[in-house]
Amino acid sequence: MDYTILSEALLKSLITIFYLALIVVPIMVAVEYANHFQLLEKWASFLGWLPRSLNMSPQAAFPLLVGLFLGVLYGAAVIIEYTRHGTLNKRDIMLSGVFLAINHSIIEDNLLMTAVGANLFIIFPIRFIMAFLVTRAAGHYYDSKIAHQVVGDTESKAAN
């Protein structure tokens, strides 16, 4: 057994884990306080510009915000709940899925990558802008597909 491998691997992983703990603990504490004071609910009202600029209905603000700050799992949970209550339409659900697929848990993920040496001022804005553009494109695609379907339906009805 080569003990140098064992000790080197252990030392390296402990250093990595220590740096990650330095980031994860304050984030989780901040998230708990945000939940405690229900900050996301309060912010959702004046973060209406996000769904608006993504060409989505304003009701999508809260699920987007939850997904952005807490991650896809929580975002999807809110989306499922909203779907059950009929608050979101099919288009909004699909587009929030596209946006969150690319851009989610923006605080934790970006800081973890920064901890191992990535440039935060490059990865954060690029990912955000790209998710924005892809979602706009998906919206256009969805709308054109729906338009075709409507035309197709009326044509088939006319044929009947």
Binding site: S13, T16, I17, L20, V72, A76, M113, G117, R127
Partner: protein, 153 residues
């Protein structure tokens, strides 16, 4: 004591306590992933297999301005999760520019096996979300490398 107190007795410090416990649980989870990944990578490195792997992936990764070794954090990130790729980035030595490109690609596309079923609930089929994220990662990595080349960073 504090941790057994009912919720209506919660003080201003309760969120801090809850957050710390959750965070330490996450760190424990990370440790379970990062320690074995680091161990395997250090062993592969000592056996000289990393060099062979790097030579194999080298040509393909030139598109993103990355060395062949970058295949490891990328594949670990895409299919396992961000934490496994963090272990790989920490063990292998990359420049700040390379880490930023790898980070952008992994942030766009990660934990596919775990997140794709979750994204299904948003009406995005797993096939679509996987293709969207993989294509996105490759495209963004390609663009960021071009941008770096343009400014000469």
């Amino acid at each position: 004591m504090e941790n057994t107190s009912p919720p209506n007795n919660s003080t201003i410090l309760t969120p801090a306590w809850k957050g710390t416990v959750k965070a330490l649980r996450t760190v424990l989870l990370l440790a379970k992933i990062i320690i074995p990944v680091t161990f395997v990578l250090v062993t592969l490195d000592k056996l000289g297999w990393l060099v062979t792997m790097a030579a194999f992936f080298g040509p393909a990764l030139k598109i993103f301005g990355l060395p062949g070794e970058a295949a490891l954090p990328l594949l670990l990130g895409f299919f396992v999760n961000i934490y496994a790729s963090l272990g790989a980035i920490a063990v292998l030595s990359f420049s700040a520019r390379e880490i930023t490109i790898i980070a952008l690609m992994i942030l766009t596309c990660h934990s596919l096996l775990m997140e794709s079923p979750i994204l299904k609930f948003t009406g995005l089929r797993p096939v679509s979300s996987v293709l969207l994220r993989l294509a996105g990662a490759f495209f963004f990595g390609f663009l960021l490398n071009l941008a770096y080349l343009a400014i000469g960073g």
